[in-house]
Symmetry: C2
């Protein structure tokens, strides 16, 4: 059907279906397809569907529900849908204040399980807020769970959001999302391929998913069981060579198993924050996420040999500079100079038994290594007074 409309235009396509006679050159070209369709059967199906349709009533119903019809070439048409080729929708019904094309210029699809866990809903809402606050529009399917949470996050951030429905834009499915869809109508836009009044079917959900993927620069799967519609959207994103991210979760949660499979098969990039996703879909260099760094601790500011000397200083008792030098694997001069610096900086102190860590430094070392470290060497030898080597050793 997509190819028929592409080649002959929508009006001529309706005429040939009504006449039950496809152009012979179209039939010839279709026979050359890799998997040629059964055109006679298709034509019968199209004929029956056309017979069952009532375009005038659709237009009337659209007017009643404040829905506008957008077709390719309109200024609101999102041209990225052209990448769907023959699978490009013939038209879209839209309801809401936001401009569809403009909203989707910088957009990310946030998708996932209907039966999301509280973790999944939390993450989806955080992504909804975070993406919106950075100027990225959230596109999703308006379903329970991840979809709904992502839309709500976007609305909370005061941004438009795009709901792609598998039913008419005047149908509220799921019905408990009535308030959500009303808010989207005020602040964003609800769109659908289906005319007003059409109810969702399983097939319509699957067909709808390609639009979610095609409208967005990338798709992030927040939670998905191994058998999830979100994985269908993910696969559309890959087919369209859009970016695909997956949010990891506990391996004990079946609701993250689909995400983990995408990661394991290296189909998706691991995404742990809205910034990660923006880096993925953003313009190179323009939208780089700041590299996540571990918190800096004072020890980081020490040079390598001073660090080794610090690590060789015992917690309790004390050690002489020579034994500290040996334990640290540095020369005595280096050890002496490092100990002086460390003492001045408050890391170490001199006791009657030699050098030891100062109390607060002990606590700090404990925090990093989860336990105190014992003095590495005792008693202390001095290189100047090296004892004779045991002659039987060699």
């Amino acid at each position: 059907m997509g190819r028929l409309v592409d080649q002959y235009g929508a009006q001529q396509a309706v005429r040939v279906i009504r006449a039950r006679a496809l152009p012979p050159e179209f039939t010839a070209r279709e026979a050359e397809q890799e998997r040629p369709p059964d055109l006679a059967a298709r034509l019968n199906t199209w004929y029956a569907r056309l017979a069952a349709s009532n375009p005038a009533a659709d237009v009337e119903a659209g007017k009643r529900s404040a829905a506008r019809l957008i077709i390719p070439g309109d200024s609101e048409w999102p041209t990225q849908l052209d990448q769907l080729g023959a699978g490009r929708p013939l038209a879209l019904w839209a309801h809401g204040t936001a401009d569809l094309r403009f909203s989707c210029l910088k957009s990310v699809a946030v998708v996932g399980a209907r039966a999301a866990t509280s973790y999944g809903s939390h993450v989806a809402a955080e992504f909804g807020v975070g993406l919106s606050e950075s100027g990225w529009t959230v596109v999703s399917g308006g379903a329970f769970g991840v979809d709904g949470a992502a839309h709500k996050g976007a609305l909370a951030a005061g941004a438009p959001t795009v709901v792609v429905l598998a039913c008419g834009v005047d149908i509220c499915y799921p019905s408990s999302h009535e308030a959500l869809f009303a808010a989207v109508g005020q602040q964003g836009v609800l769109i659908s391929e289906c005319p007003p009044g059409v109810h969702p079917t399983r097939a319509r959900f699957l067909i709808r998913n390609r639009l979610i993927a095609a409208l967005s620069r990338g798709t992030v799967v927040v939670e998905a069981a191994l058998r999830s519609g979100a994985l269908n959207t993910a696969s559309h994103a890959l087919t369209l060579t859009r970016h695909l991210g997956a949010v990891p979760g506990p391996i004990t949660s079946s609701m993250s198993a689909g995400c983990h499979r995408l990661l394991r098969e290296r189909k998706a990039v691991c995404v742990t924050s809205p910034e990660d996703m923006i880096e993925l879909v953003g313009v190179l260099g323009d939208d780089l996420t700041p590299q996540v760094r571990a918190p800096a601790v004072p020890r980081d500011r020490l040079n390598e040999s001073t660090k080794r000397v610090l690590d060789a200083v015992p917690t309790r008792g004390g050690a002489g500079p020579a034994s500290i030098a040996v334990a640290a694997g540095v020369g005595l001069d280096t050890a002496l100079s490092a100990l002086g610096g460390l003492a001045a900086a408050g890391y170490v102190e001199r006791s009657t038994k030699g050098w030891r860590l100062r109390k607060q430094q002990t606590a700090y070392r404990k925090a990093l290594d989860s336990a105190t470290l014992e003095p590495p060497l005792a008693p202390e030898p001095d290189p100047a007074e090296v004892p004779p080597f045991p002659e039987d050793f060699l």
Copy 2:
């Protein structure tokens, strides 16, 4: 030091250090290194360390603590350590009943945070059990948290496990792991580069990590903060071109942030089960993990057009075959034949208003789509009695 021993043997290396005179040709070759070491300073350090050492006392202490010394060439020497090149340990002290080389032939390093969450400890123990039950030895560092849980899992599965210590094998660090280390001594083996009596230092932990990575065919990081010793082990595994896996966790947990960074940078493979890890390190084709599949539901056994017909059958009321055919996008013949088969299989039934889903099938469809689906089309047209097309439409 590694290159000195490699080229001249351990005994000659001791002699030249004691004489404080390196062979001139060695000095010349070292000067050609990319980053030539300060050999004079090194020699002084080695001299001081040699002076502070007491090999005879070490051997005696080893005997007292039932530790054996293993050197390259011994039958128990794990030859995979040769890949460390000049960083290969000069010798290993071992305590325990298990043969080190044999235990490590098929081994996996399970590493992670000391401050593991209960999730991390649970996963580590599961991996310890699962890997052991499949004949893979668990190698780890004997630390609090992930390491300890992995060792305990292996012991619970009745398998040997290898603890690589950063202190002498007679030192119990952390001290609360006394019972664990005693059990490993009975069933596995504790090893260390350090002679008996040596206490751990930060540097020794870092140096120890290369042994954990080098002994194993692969390393899996269970939990790791952004600043974690486990990431050091992971980087050794990559340097040695061993396999690296990372277990995902909630993005809200800082203890999984290190794992997620490894995944995001595609340094590690996403690992969600011991089987995943075995597939990674195992022999191609021999150790493949069974593909994780979603549970099969009866619908999967239907062919494509029958599925579409089933999805087009309404939940309530009823619909005639023609409207079902239109909604499903199939021909009337196909719909009629599919409806017959679906009725025989108990999926659909005929009511006074036409075909509808049987009650239990409704429940099943609800479970998958989280909501009931409305009848897709009503009223029902018949292709045989097509109404005239609205002429103003074209």
